[in-house]
């Protein structure tokens, strides 16, 4: 397992600077010569093995279908508490929207207003905007400052992506296991590379608006597992980028990583609702 953790290191004397532009792109790609591979037969078995083991764990018990997502699996909770409206969620959704727009059209001088226009055009976002309207002026100012900072950092640091690399944002994934008793779902903020190929060629990127933690690494690994179960081919690389700090966690997807993600996921299947897994 290779883990590139692009964070301040005490070994260097120069002040740490977040990666930007070509350097960030290089870190997302990883070194071309050292790219590990996952055995094809293993990747093809992932969905079946996950399904079989879910069946063993749940037995014949008549439980309601479980839906797991990256947050629940990374934190060992069976049920998601995400979805509750919060200032943090608002910031994440605004910043994700700004990111999506930047990937497809480059940075904008008025990123927040652009994102708001997009959210206003989407009926499913109405509750979110209604919640925004209820916030106290001071909270709204603070939120606006945070999103402005995210947008500025993205504009300054995030590289432009060649359309030939097939960048796509907000990619939904959903895999049913054990006859539909367990559903793994997730959304990847950015995928780059040709999907549905026989060899690993996709890089998956998750965007965060908080400093990175080990939970975020586990979330990215969970998404790699779902993508492998979905396509029968793993992504070659996963990355998590923080707009708050400029940190980047990037790692190659290996068999060991997928097995680790599988164990985390299976632990979440048996965790009591709303209680952290042991």
């Amino acid at each position: 397992m290779v883990l590139l953790h692009e964070t301040p290191t005490p070994k260097t004397c120069a002040p740490w600077q977040p990666l930007a532009g070509a350097a960030l792109l290089d870190a997302l790609r990883g070194g071309r010569s050292s790219r590990p591979s996952v055995e094809g037969a293993f990747a093809l078995r992932v969905r079946g093995e996950l399904s079989d083991r879910c069946g063993e764990l749940l037995g014949t018990s008549d439980v309601a279908p479980l839906t797991l997502d990256r947050g629940t699996v990374a934190r060992g909770y069976r049920l998601s508490e995400r979805g509750d409206l919060s200032v943090e969620l608002l910031r994440h959704i605004f910043t994700s929207t700004i990111f999506q727009l930047q990937v497809h059209a480059g940075p904008s001088a008025d990123a927040i207003e652009d994102a708001k226009a997009v959210l206003e055009a989407d009926p499913s976002r109405r509750p979110l905007l209604e919640y925004l309207a209820t916030l106290a002026p001071a909270v709204r100012r603070e939120l606006r400052d945070a999103i402005s900072s995210d947008a500025r950092h993205l504009a300054e640091r995030w590289p432009s992506l060649n359309p030939m690399w097939l960048p796509r944002t907000g990619v939904s994934m959903a895999v049913d296991l054990d006859g539909g008793r367990v559903r793994l779902r997730g959304t990847c903020d950015l995928m780059v590379g040709i999907p549905n190929r026989s060899s690993a060629s996709v890089c998956m990127v998750s965007l965060k608006t908080t400093p990175l933690t080990s939970f975020h690494r586990d979330e990215a690994r969970y998404l790699a597992l779902v993508e492998t179960a979905r396509c029968g081919v793993p992504p070659f690389r996963i990355a998590t980028y923080s707009t708050a700090t400029g940190e980047l966690h990037a790692e190659y997807v290996t068999e060991a990583l997928l097995k680790d993600a599988m164990e985390h996921t299976l632990a979440a299947v048996t965790a009591p609702a709303g209680v952290p897994a042991p």
Partner: protein, 276 residues
């Protein structure tokens, strides 16, 4: 009548597999229309029956339609895919941008009617258009990379017009769609069809695919039915395969009739009282 599931990697092979297609005789056709007519029209208005209303309920069709980036992705994405497959664009993103530019130009010249996708795009703010391109290019990329286009001897039909059947005695407007129709050899009349579906494979896919096959067969002048319907769920990386025969079409007709009858009877009964 059985369905099978295949992975995305097997889509092309599945669509190209040799299958015998069926042709509706006049009595076959009358029999299917008779099953649909069991519901009986309740007035002059036609009830729209398509994949959307079968999945979301007939009440959903009553909601006024208005475009947004998510709803625009299929139309834009299929137009972009067509450009990629026909060699007119290098990648889905650039193809989507060209499709949107073209639609806006048409709307600006007055060639688009009010309420059309083109006129919505022309009036939408730039970031909203960008998001429409983002959704559409992701849609087109998934479909573009799911099929081996170079393995197809003939160019497929991408995003053809919906099949339409008006059935006055039943008060129904049947609409059937297919994202891709594959043409090969002497099976052209029975072209396999690929439908892109959301979420994960569900038992309801059987009715969705069967209804689309039924509509195609009833709409075809010669009564040819697609040899196979494939419902691909990109989010799940799986497809449901339904070979079409007379039993599939009869069950689809009966399934539609049942849904319509249930819905119409719920309207006539009014709200169901809730027990205390």
């Amino acid at each position: 009548m059985t369905t099978t599931r295949v992975a995305t990697a097997q889509l092309t092979q599945t669509l190209h597999a040799e299958r015998a297609g069926i042709t509706l005789s006049a009595p076959d056709r009358q029999g299917l229309l008779g099953i649909l007519a069991q519901t009986g029209a309740t007035g002059p208005d036609l009830l729209r029956v398509d994949g959307f209303t079968l999945r979301s309920g007939f009440d959903a069709a009553a909601t006024p339609f208005s475009w947004n980036p998510r709803l625009a992705k299929r139309t834009l994405g299929l137009a972009a895919l067509r450009a990629c497959v026909h060699g007119e664009a290098k990648n889905p993103l650039e193809a989507c941008e060209a499709v949107v530019d073209h639609a806006i130009a048409r709307a600006s010249s007055g060639a688009e009617r009010s309420g059309s996708l083109g006129s919505w795009l022309a009036s939408a703010q730039t970031p909203v258009r960008t998001m429409a391109i983002a959704y559409a290019s992701a849609y087109a990329t998934e479909l573009w990379s799911a099929l081996e286009w170079s393995a197809m001897a003939e160019l497929p039909t991408i995003g053809a017009r919906d099949d339409t059947v008006v059935h006055r005695p039943a008060g129904l407007l049947l609409k059937g769609r297919a994202e891709v129709m594959i043409h090969h050899g002497n099976q052209r009349a029975f072209s396999p069809r690929l439908l892109v579906l959301g979420g994960t494979p569900q038992p309801e896919d059987l009715l969705t695919l069967g209804a689309a096959a039924l509509t195609a067969a009833l709409a075809d002048r010669d009564g040819h039915a697609p040899s196979v319907m494939v419902g691909w769920h990109p989010a799940a990386g799986q497809a449901v395969v339904l070979p079409v025969d007379h039993i599939v079409l009869r069950r689809a007709a009966a399934g539609i009739a049942r849904r319509v009858a249930t819905w119409r009877s719920s309207l006539s009964e009014g709200p169901v009282p809730v027990a205390a």
